[in-house]
């Protein structure tokens, strides 16, 4: 902004952002530091308590703080200590991903995605020019085709099997990425469609529909109850099968088949999450001035052109954060999956179930095997992974840039 600089500016800025920073440091940053420390220790149900004579432990673990001196649990068990090879928990989790075969398989699979990357790059390049030699649809199709051809040529399915056999970590993370990639666009699309319709001033019953369509978010306080209601729909004698029976079809055990159980969780989670997008987009749409559309109408632009060239670019800064953050929350989805399948259907002893997403897996690690060290290591790996993904998406979409840059 215009005008001033120096100490006065620094003071004003600090006044504006200080409370946020302080709060975040207290409630968000400290737990991360603590968990990172615990991830290097053997803290589990046999070694639950801290050894307060170690300096780092006494600073980081709240149980060692003066406030807790009298009330801290003093079990008979051994205190936890740092692991002998410091990275033992990490090695247990992802060690097998770093064998020569696994790395080779990973690279093979990544190569298959290369044509899509090239297509994306070319698209951005053409976007900046006045004329386009090929339309973006054709470009994406060619990219997809080339990717599939590469996948066949390089025998990607064997590489995929190879990666899947490297332990729980890759299986669980890959499944969660798939979930995010399906669930977020679905909720976004549904939310955007509904927001565009409900934004009209010439729609009788607008408030009524806004309220009804907001309901799933309103019931998020009853998430457990509603998730169980959804579970009943998919049960063997649930609503879907009974209706199918009347129509003359056979029922199906939706929750016992890995694919349909996955779909059931996606549908339920879309139900929970689309109103959030709807409300955020509805809010963002209010800043779009009307005269732009009038101009577009005069020029004869179709509604699709108006949507992709006017509406979406104009509300982009307001809805991108919602999309990025929803992707992160979707990655950490827990309640829906836990209520509906509890991670099942079971695929075999000692293996994660067919719908065991990352947090479900971590939850089972903590509360069933009480292996805090391992679970913290898992959280730290996820943190690094999501951090990188977020950083990339920020750079790609350039949303940290302010309004007029």
């Amino acid at each position: 902004m215009i005008g001033w600089s120096g100490r006065r500016k620094a003071f004003t800025v600090l006044l504006f952002i200080g409370p946020t920073l302080l709060g975040i440091l207290l409630i968000n940053v400290f737990p991360i530091l603590l968990s990172t420390y615990v991830s290097f220790t053997n803290r589990n149900k046999f070694h639950p308590n801290p050894d307060c004579t170690i300096t780092l432990t006494s600073v980081l673990d709240p149980v060692c703080w003066p406030v807790f001196r009298t009330t801290a649990p003093r079990g008979l068990a051994e205190p936890y200590s740092l692991q002998a090879p410091l990275f033992q928990n990490y090695i247990d989790l992802v060690g097998q991903l770093f064998t020569a075969e696994a790395v080779q398989a990973l690279i093979l699979i990544l190569i298959c995605f290369l044509p899509l990357l090239v297509a994306a790059y070319l698209n951005r390049y053409f976007d900046r020019r006045i004329t386009r030699p090929v339309s973006s649809g054709v470009l994406w199709l060619v990219g997809l085709g080339a990717g599939l051809v590469l996948a066949f040529a390089l025998n990607a399915s064997t590489a995929y099997q190879q990666l899947m056999s490297t332990g729980d970590f890759f299986v669980v993370v890959w499944r969660t990425i798939l979930f995010v990639a399906i669930r977020v666009p679905l909720s976004f699309g549904l939310g955007l469609t509904l927001a565009l319709i409900l934004n009209s001033n010439y729609l009788p019953g607008r408030t009524f529909f806004r309220l009804i369509l907001f309901l799933p978010w309103a019931t998020s306080s009853l998430a457990i109850l509603m998730a169980l209601v959804w579970q009943f729909f998919f049960r063997e004698r649930g609503v879907i099968n009974q209706v199918l029976q009347i129509l003359g079809f056979d029922g199906y055990a939706w929750l016992n088949d890995p694919a349909t159980a996955f779909a059931a969780i996606v549908i339920t989670d879309v139900w929970f999450s689309y109103p959030f997008f709807m409300v955020v987009i509805l809010g963002a749409l209010q800043s779009v001035p009307n005269d732009v559309y009038e101009a577009a109408d005069v020029e004869g632009a179709s509604w699709w052109t108006q949507l992709t060239r006017i509406t979406l670019p104009l509300i982009r800064p307001a809805i991108l954060p919602a999309t990025v953050l929803t992707s992160i929350t979707a990655f950490q989805m827990f309640g829906t999956a836990w209520a509906i399948t509890q991670g099942g259907p079971v695929r075999g002893a000692g293996q994660p179930g067919a719908t065991e997403f990352v947090i479900v897996y971590a939850f089972k690690q903590i509360y069933q095997s009480q292996n805090y060290g391992r679970a913290s290591a898992f959280a730290v790996i996820l943190f690094i992974f999501l951090f990188a993904a977020t950083l990339y998406s920020l750079r790609y979409t350039r949303i940290t840039k302010g309004a007029y840059e």
Binding site: L190, Q332, A403
Partner: protein, 280 residues
Amino acid sequence: MNRQPSKRVMVVQYIILLFAALFAFYPVWFAILASGRLGDRLYTLNLGGMFLPTEWTWENYRIMLFEKPLLDWIRNSLYVAIVTSIASLLISTSAAFAVSRFRFYGREVMLIFLLAIQTFPGVLALVAVAQILTALGLYKTHEGLILAYTIGTLVFATWNMKGYFDTIPIDLEEAAMIDGCGPVQSFVRIALPLALPALAVTALLGFMAGWGDFIFASVLVPAPDTMKLAVPGLFSLANDQSVPWGYFAAGGMVIVLPTLFVFLALQRFLVGGLTAGGVK
């Protein structure tokens, strides 16, 4: 896009809305039906009962409203949710304004840092948060809960408000500054009124965070009964032997009502034209 749509477009729009409304409403309707059913079952295997109130009774509602401390819990929840909403609005809006309008050292780093810490799984932070609140003497108080919720909503609220401020033309504030406004004044007088739609969304978000949470509320305020919040209070009615689904559903419907009122009150601000014609 506020122009009168043609008849054909309107028909398509209503068809989409009707399908979406059915998708949105049926599970809730199912829960409403369950709230009028006696016994410990959430479900009925009788097909008619899945769609129509075949065995409706108000008994569950009567017990929840007059024999259980549901109204106490709702009062606690209202207090927590409203204060969270206001606090989150105050703190995040000012931070968002600074980030959107000022250029200062470390601005982008701060934005990325805010998003990045959000990627840490919350379940794992819970125990540490409880210990910090104990150290501050806020464990088992509503104020501690408000603190945790407010900070929990800060990241999204800040980003959302920043995004919205970015879409508001800066020219209006520059005009105000030429006329002698300071930064604080131009924030309060110019930017805030223009950002009403986003403020409504942020307030709703804060309210929902305080109202709907189960895990934090049950860990941070575990007892006594009169201090509990609505959702954990409701679920504390269950014990090892039985889960009273009829009570849950009836209490749940009562708990959902305030959120609907808040939404109705706030959605009035989701109207366009605030910045229209401001810059010519």
